[in-house]
Amino acid sequence: MTERRRPRRSLTRKSAGALADWSVPRQLRGAPDKTKAAESAMSRGLRPRLEQADKVGTSICPYCAVGCAQLIYAKDGKPIHVEGDPRSPINQGTLCPKGAATFGLMLSPQRLDHCLHRAPGAGEWRRVTLDWAMDRIAHLAKRTRDEGYVARLPDGTRLNHTLSIGSLGGATLDNEENYLIKKLFSGGLGMVFLENQARV
């Protein structure tokens, strides 16, 4: 792994170096402008960021439904770069401003890394553990479901449902996630207020 490093030099040596680095004289002397003439001491020292990657995986843009393919490069378990997958017949390596923001999305300073809980009437969040949140949610879901469950209409027609819990979301999630959500919420709990962004 090469580090990006700029040599320290004195001011005069620096300007002399800069002059030697200046590409125009070399171009005028006939050096090809896209290769040799374009080189400078600094550019010779630059290394592609992707060289540092210890892992690369294929991904799909999380924004719109065009479905542009991406490559995610990571180092030490952290993403270091996201770019369009050149093999894709959809995007052939390109990404739009949103797709190109995927790296910024993954590393957004706004990202949350712990669970928050706001008690009824509270004026602020408090931090809770994932386990506590999961237990509490399971407990609330069971209680609310059971309170609102209707097994049958008065004439005996089966309803098997609860109107008291709703769920929104799915269009940003994986097919497998949608499958589990529908299976558990509808097939298991009897929820019918189950919707995603398809209509909005």
Partner: protein, 857 residues
């Protein structure tokens, strides 16, 4: 999308995006494709470079218009008048592709003598009940034949339905191939669209006649044997109270021009969120089960499995296989707990009783019916219509779980929301218990998305999400596990479904369930051996197979072969169908109804537009695509009606629309749509003007939710004189969470604004960047003015009507902020889909700012 489903048999894009490059003409309408689906728009530009004509019909002049050969401006919400005009033009001048449309559509089919349309009934179709505000489709049927719908729900509420549809086994639907019969679909169409003349188009849409005619001529010129055209649309069509019928009008036009199932032809539905197609196929939606099977309904003949299968199985066409798919799904969900007595677990399924979609959900929260809410990757405070109603609803809940990568506007409604800001409520008065849980993003979990053209593409897990971030696989799986243990000892009948639910997915050391194991269940396997099935043709109705979503079957045909993960594109010399890249449902077919790319005898319509053909020597259809037909069914096959054929046996060798019970595209739709068998122009529910076409102003069947918090403007209400249309920006995404909370995209589009026509701005003394207030009876917002000529005013019957354009992504969370556009919108929607009407409503505009509320000192 019921429109494409009802017309062609499947509610999805008919062609892959890259195939647009093969078009000779692309009409983009109801979409600003260059800005909102930029990477897909490259294919439109490739077509243009090869000589195709590109047309953009839209109220706004956008980058799509700038790159088009023709921009046709039209008044927001007048799309059916425009498209109806195109249909009229094509019929009137005999420009339709006769050799294609006559055999491949229901043009020659004869309709029941009771049928009457808006011509006779001044804006209504026969079957309207003023009392229930609903249509009965009884009189829309074919003569002597009841047609079940090809949509998720086949059953139609009419007398003797289950018996009446059996007539389909007895012979073809009644036809007059000479098209002379006054009640054949061709003659009905001619009468129905007679008033959609170029003059009427100009009057109703504001589009100059010459521009309209240029569009009509370009479309007609680029159709026929040698040429094809495509139509691309997005939510600019669906977000209307007539949205389904707008798409229907486009679907009729494309079938008349012979553009469906052929290279470079068809209809591309451009969808917004990354897997919105997937979440419709495997629906986190109230009214369907995976694979477009209807969710059982308490008030329909769905009492037990036998009834459900009888009511919902079409006698003819591919959907005759319905029982195999339904029983296999039940087996996947309930495994060994399903048996003959409980209908393989059918008795566990919840029954719906009405419309439980997002708009009525909003009302149900407000009215205290819904007490707990899960929100996963959605931001209803910004994205939901009538945001104040949404926020009042959230404040009524006992609890809410928000799962996202950061704090969304929805998660913080109790602290930063409008009700708190305006002083209506203090946080202490909001009793909602809120959980905010960090969610993993796509590079942080493995799984598949389904893109806008039905393509499943897998994404890998590359890194861990930060801290407690978890996937929805993880969350749902572990919530399910906890619930199963809470209910483990219950003997109550109502708890048996959750106890029976199969929930044994392998997990890794971090407890993450294996997404490939879930995809295998979706693909299907034999039961109980769990040997993966090759495709849906292996599914059985006797309980010996399990399959989570039949249309995805084939995505995982054997261990180790996850085809969503396939990454082999065609080379430059390849056919360009890219069968080795991802997996398209159904059965990896890239172009739907592609049998229609060959003539009835099985020959390609032309060399230039070759895709599928019959090979007599091999006795098989050939194609660089997968053939969307029975591979060995001869083109001259005719059903033997003596034998009362069922399923595909009743579909001839030259009927390409295999999901429709009579094998042809439904230009006239007898069953399945709630607002008529044909599209007719109605004004938006809120419009500054009366309907120039019929006495009936708005779609009579449009969904309206009467509620004190949801007042609707009357037509022509002088307090709200302008049209408002909402739209999206390239740099922002939907409810804004994944872009307003990300520095780069927030910086590119940092603040909300409203586009205001120059003349109107001048008359109100508004200059660009001034503050303005927009208001409706639902609420008011302040934003910055962007004075522009991009939104032309229109003159209708002597009145000048201005249109305003408002991006709807903004909210208070994140770096890029602005007032929420949906504070202005109403909970009203399309009768078929319950989609809202945020592309056309009325509003008022004034310069200045809003008074700051008590909560904001």
């Amino acid at each position: 999308m019921p429109s494409l489903g009802a017309t062609y048999g499947r509610g999805a894009a008919t062609l892959p995006q890259w195939d647009l490059a093969n078009s000779d003409c692309v009409l983009v309408m109801g979409s600003n494709m260059a800005e909102n689906h930029p990477i897909a728009f490259r294919f439109v530009l490739q077509a243009k470079q090869r000589g195709a004509t590109v047309i953009h019909a839209d109220p706004r002049f956008t980058r799509t218009s700038a790159l088009a050969d023709i921009h046709a401006p039209l008044r927001a919400g007048s799309d059916i008048a425009f498209l109806g005009g195109l249909i009229h033009h094509v019929l009137e001048h005999d420009l339709w592709f006769r050799d294609y449309a006559l055999p491949y559509t229901n043009l020659s089919t004869i309709v029941d003598e009771e049928y009457q349309g808006p011509e006779e009934l001044d804006g209504l179709f026969s079957g309207w009940s003023e009392e229930s505000k609903r249509y009965s489709p009884q009189s829309w049927q074919y003569q002597g034949v009841m047609m079940p719908s090809s949509l998720a729900e086949a059953f139609i509420e009419t007398e003797g339905f289950c018996e009446a549809v059996k007539r389909l086994h007895e012979g073809p639907t009644p036809k007059d191939p000479t098209l002379q019969h006054p009640r054949c679909v061709y003659q009905i169409l001619k009468r129905h669209f007679a008033r959609y003349t170029p003059e009427m188009v100009e009057r109703a849409t504001g589009c100059p006649r010459e521009v309209f005619l240029k569009v009509a001529e370009a479309l007609a010129r680029n159709s026929g044997r040698e040429r094809t055209g495509a139509i691309c649309y997005a939510v600019g069509w669906t977000h209307h109270s007539t949205g389904v019928q707008m798409i229907r009008a486009a679907a009729i036009l494309q079938a008349l021009l012979g553009n469906v199932g052929r290279p470079g032809g068809g209809i591309l539905a451009l969808r917004g969120h990354t897997s919105i197609q997937g979440s419709t196929d495997i629906p986190t939606l109230y009214d369907m089960l995976p694979g477009y099977l209807p969710q059982p309904h308490a008030l329909k003949p769905h009492q037990d499995l036998a009834q459900y299968l009888e009511a919902e199985t079409n006698p003819t066409g591919w959907w005759h296989n319905f029982p195999k798919y339904a029983v296999s799904l039940l087996r996947a969900w309930y495994g060994g707990a399903g048996n003959k007595e409980n209908g393989f677990g059918y008795d566990f399924l919840p029954r719906i009783v009405g419309d439980h979609s997002q708009l009525p959900m909003t009302v149900a929260m407000r009215d205290g019916i819904i007490k707990g809410l899960f929100v996963m990757g959605q931001n209803p405070v910004v994205g939901g219509s009538n945001s104040l109603l949404v926020q009042r609803g959230l404040a009524q809940l006992d609890w809410m779980v928000v799962r996202d990568f950061a704090e969304t506007d929805t998660a913080s409604f109790w602290r930063d929301g409008h009700l708190v800001r305006s002083g209506e409520l203090r946080p202490e008065e909001i009793g909602t218990e809120v959980f905010l849980m960090p969610a993993s993003l796509s590079g942080e979990k493995a799984g598949s998305f389904t893109n806008t053209h039905r393509l499943l593409q897998w994404h890998d897990k590359v890194v861990d999400g930060p801290g407690d971030s978890r996937s929805e696989h993880w969350f749902t799986y572990h919530l399910g596990r906890r619930l199963k243990s809470l209910y483990a000892d219950s003997t109550r009948e109502e708890d048996q479904a959750i106890r029976a639910l199969t929930w044994d997915y392998p997990v890794d050391e971090e407890g993450e369930p294996d997404a490939e194991a879930v995809l295998q269940e979706i693909n299907g396997y034999t039961w109980p051996e769990r040997k993966l099935v090759q495709d849906f043709k292996e599914l059985k109705e006797d309980g010996s197979t399990a399959c989570g979503c039949w249309i995805y079957s084939g995505v995982f045909p054997e261990e180790g072969r996850n085809l969503a993960r396939a990454r082999k594109p065609d080379g430059p010399d390849g056919p360009g169908t890219h069968l080795g890249w991802g997996f398209a449902w159904p059965d990896n077919r890239r172009t739907l109804n592609n049998r229609a790319s060959a003539d009835p005898e099985g020959r390609p319509w032309s060399e230039r537009k070759r895709l599928v053909w019959w090979d007599e020597d091999k006795g098989e259809w050939q194609s660089p695509d997968k053939v969307d037909f029975i591979p060995t069914k001869r083109p001259d096959y005719e059903p033997d009606w003596e034998k009362k054929p069922a399923g595909m046996d009743a579909i001839s060798g030259h009927q390409p629309f295999i999901m429709i019970p009579d094998g042809v595209a439904g230009l006239f739709v007898p069953s399945g749509l709630k607002d008529g068998p044909l599209p007719a122009h109605f004004e938006p529910v809120e419009s500054p003007v009366s309907n120039p076409l019929y006495r009936q102003d708005a779609n009579p069947a449009a969904k309206r939710w009467e509620h004190a918090d949801n007042p609707i403007h009357a037509t022509g209400d002088p307090r709200f004189p302008h049209m408002l249309t909402t739209y999206r920006l390239t740099e922002q995404h939907s409810g804004g969470t994944p872009t307003r909370l990300v520095p780069t995209t927030a910086e590119l589009m940092p603040e909300g604004f409203c586009e205001i026509p120059t003349e109107l701005a001048a008359s109100l003394g508004i200059r660009s960047t001034d503050w303005v207030v927009l208001s409706t009876a639902r609420g008011e917002i302040e934003t910055r003015a962007l004075v522009t000529d991009r939104l032309q005013p229109f003159r209708l019957d002597g009145r000048l009507i201005f249109q305003l354009g408002l991006p709807w992504h903004y909210g208070w969370a994140g770096y890029a902020t602005g007032d929420i556009a949906n504070v202005l919108t109403a909970v009203v929607g399309d009768p078929n889909t319950a989609m809202h009407e945020n592309k056309a409503l009325t509003c008022a505009l004034r310069p200045g700012r809003l008074p700051r509320g008590k909560g904001e000192s």
